[in-house]
Symmetry: C2
Subunit: 462 residues, 2 copies
């Protein structure tokens, strides 16, 4: 079964029911939607934007196939003229977005889509589905990067990521955030991320002799074998590796690159294994650690000076286990030139098209953000940049290498209080006078309209 | 960009490095791997198996394309003869598994794969990736089913699911567990799950009059419109709906099916809205609730007799937010006829091919499970059933309707202590005498082999 991640039907059914209603009313004026995060998860001082490339790809390729339309017809819920209209349905709108790798905070739009209502509405589900995932994972992965002190970080999480796309896009998002490689082969093929792979316990178990398993593996990868040494007794295996390494070097010119620890107290074991390797003149053999790691575990190991050269980080990063979703929304902020917002309890958002202006201190560190109208003259760096106009990409998107540089620069400009796993005071976000005025105006207009509506339809409500 | 959820390269790179090593050694005897969960998450009294259909599909279609092989060649890590061998690489092994919908506990194999080593090893990453996801989601969703008291449950979670496949497979897994429908359109098309969709706040906001938005939507779906009434003022909107409903009924013969609440105190609001609807003779209009729901919120609402007819449950179910991964493993338990296990700290598992035998009390309720050798004569119901032999499906897999019946029957046989959101005492799992004896034998054999290995390679370890 193919899961059609590119299908137009990969959307909430309500997008289609709304589209049919809009079609029947011939409503299709320009609508502006913004994607933002309402509240940062408890353990995140900031987020890192990721996923724009996938969004652009989705918007560019969006169309209904004959099969899609047939299926919708057979559902019996849609009119023939509406179904006919889907044949030419394409995304023809504008996109503005923060470049991938940009650091952002709550209430700040990451992406703004401005398009005929039916298009801008329809793309909601899939845009959120991808943008939340990659932003969430980049925001988790960058915390590992912050504490790894330059040590090698490899994404190990395909098996417990939530399905195929989660595995692939978390490999990409963690690479955006500064990881060095991924174990997910297809992510290497699709995104040109360096791939890395060692061996499983099963490989050792399938051999009668652990050492012969190591020897066979080293022969298959004579320059870069990493041997997993915790299947039975880690320290005994480390000693065996030293003997084997000398023998293989002398007899066959084969070099063992590293050993991997995957269980137990990694700090203590790494220390013991380093001692054993060094005592036997195997100083060049590196130690790689994995198993239940997250940014806190990496921080403890790095701060404790554990002699570990690299970390394989899986499950907890690829599922963003301590914050497995973002409280994010894709909200209509303007329709047919009128700014708007909803006022549902606990879900109020700022109306109108907005821009985020960032201010820096004398050292170039981020000082505060201002949420303002796009054309308001408030100074600072505008974080949302034009990406698509009229359904077409304005210029080639940055390469992953460029995105990684941008992410690194962003990290370097974080104020020290935020560059930490400890919860920090909220980064200052102010709301411009222009936006405040617009908000009052929108609320007043909406109150007025609601009053008329109530007078007509609900007069006796009291 | 197409994400190729069916690509053979959707695997951990180490599967391929191990394969090359096995190939070089010409090691390809029969290997038996079992997938199981080491520990239940804190808030799960049991799990529900799901995902077998996707596993069978993956195993049946598994092959390397010319492009895959080209990419692997260009990675520079694989030998030409090994790459050549991938051209004919297919899954030719046996699969035994618990039927989807089966209730299970920790340490119990859900799936057993027995195949030539290279095949059985290679499929690890993707088998885990899918089986963990669907089992985790079914196990979360069934908790909502347990407390919903028969009220309608709809999967609303595509937007915050982790990517495309997570959205699709969580729709499927929640349907397996007893949900009634999904909002994810493509899950309807692929799996024939009933789809359901209403409207978004943006739809209301795009109209100057909330009531006219409702009227237009009702006209587009004259028999089954659900109107979202919390965009501005829920109670005022409810009253407007009563007026509109009477008017539409009289003038145009249109019936409004339901209203939806998506914010605020859902219990109190539902009560107020029910009063307003009933007072205006709109008793037939149902109330549907959504917004941040999980099994605890549903339980509170249902136990408080909130007049809610159905629930839309998204994010927290589709991400299994309180347990976003399972501590699961796919472990080699036998190679070339020899049972084995690893002994890594905290990760010990039972060796050899196993079967789970379930015992029931006089009322037909589950009483206890026994982990035993497959051919041991211990009575009880054998939970793992033959699925594939020699790479071929033995018989058509059950339909989703059959799987749902099985899941319902399983729920009906749960002892009362487990049929609860409260943590329950562990379900009894015993280990048979045969398995205990095998374990001792395996440990002794492995200790003996390790001693020989150490004598040869690490004698001075002391």
């Amino acid at each position: 079964m193919t899961l059609h991640s590119e299908s137009a039907l990969l959307t909430d059914f309500y997008e289609l029911t709304m589209l049919q209603a809009y079609f029947a009313q011939q409503m299709n004026d320009t609508a502006v939607f913004e994607f933002f995060v309402r509240r940062l998860p408890e353990r995140r001082n900031f987020l890192m934007a990721a996923g724009l490339e996938q969004i652009v790809s989705y918007l560019t390729d969006l169309h209904f196939t004959e099969d899609d339309i047939t299926w919708l017809r057979e559902s019996g819920r849609f009119s023939a003229p509406f179904l006919e209209s889907l044949r030419d349905f394409r995304f023809t709108g504008d996109v503005d977005a923060m470049p991938e790798g940009t650091i952002l905070f709550q209430d700040e739009p990451i992406l703004r889509i401005s398009a005929p209502m039916r298009e801008a509405q329809f793309v909601e589900s899939r845009v959120m589905n991808m943008l939340q995932l990659e932003t969430m994972i980049a925001s988790k992965a960058v915390r590992c990067v912050m504490v790894a002190n330059g040590k090698r970080l490899v994404d190990f999480g395909l098996r417990r990521a939530h399905g195929a796309e989660a595995g692939l896009l978390s490999a990409r998002a963690s690479y955006v955030a500064g990881f060095d490689a991924t174990a997910t082969t297809l992510a290497g093929a699709l995104f040109r991320i360096p791939v890395s792979g060692t061996m499983a316990h099963s490989y050792v178990q399938a051999h009668d002799s652990e050492t012969e398993a190591f020897a066979a593996f080293a022969r298959a990868f004579p320059d870069n074998a990493t041997l997993l040494i915790d299947t039975y007794d880690t320290e005994a295996a480390a000693l065996q590796v030293t003997r084997l390494a000398q023998w293989l070097q002398e007899e066959e010119g084969i070099r063992i690159k590293a050993v991997r620890l995957d269980s137990g107290d990694l700090g203590t074991l790494a220390y013991r294994v380093r001692e054993i390797l060094d005592a036997e003149d195997c100083r060049a053999i590196e130690i790689f650690a994995s198993g239940n790691l997250d940014e806190y575990a990496v921080q403890t190991l790095v701060e404790g000076d554990a002699p570990i050269d690299g970390f394989g980080i899986g499950t907890r990063m690829n599922t963003s286990a301590d914050a497995p979703f973002l409280d994010c929304a894709y909200k209509l902020v303007e329709y047919a030139g009128q700014a708007c917002r909803k006022r549902s309890l606990g879900k109020v958002n700022w109306p109108g098209r907005k821009q985020v202006f960032r201010h820096y201190d004398a050292h170039g560190l981020m000082q505060g953000d201002l949420l303002a109208l796009p054309d308001e003259d408030v100074g600072g760096e505008a974080l949302l940049r034009p990406v698509m106009r009229g359904g077409t990409l304005l210029q080639a998107l940055p390469t992953l290498a460029d995105i990684r540089s941008h992410a690194r620069e962003q990290l370097a400009r974080l104020p020290p209080s935020l560059y930490s796993l400890e919860p920090a005071p909220k980064f200052p976000l102010e709301v411009s006078l222009g936006l405040q005025a617009l908000t009052r105006e929108v609320d007043e207009r909406q109150r007025h309209l609601a009053d008329s509506d109530r007078q007509r339809w609900g007069a006796e409500a009291g």
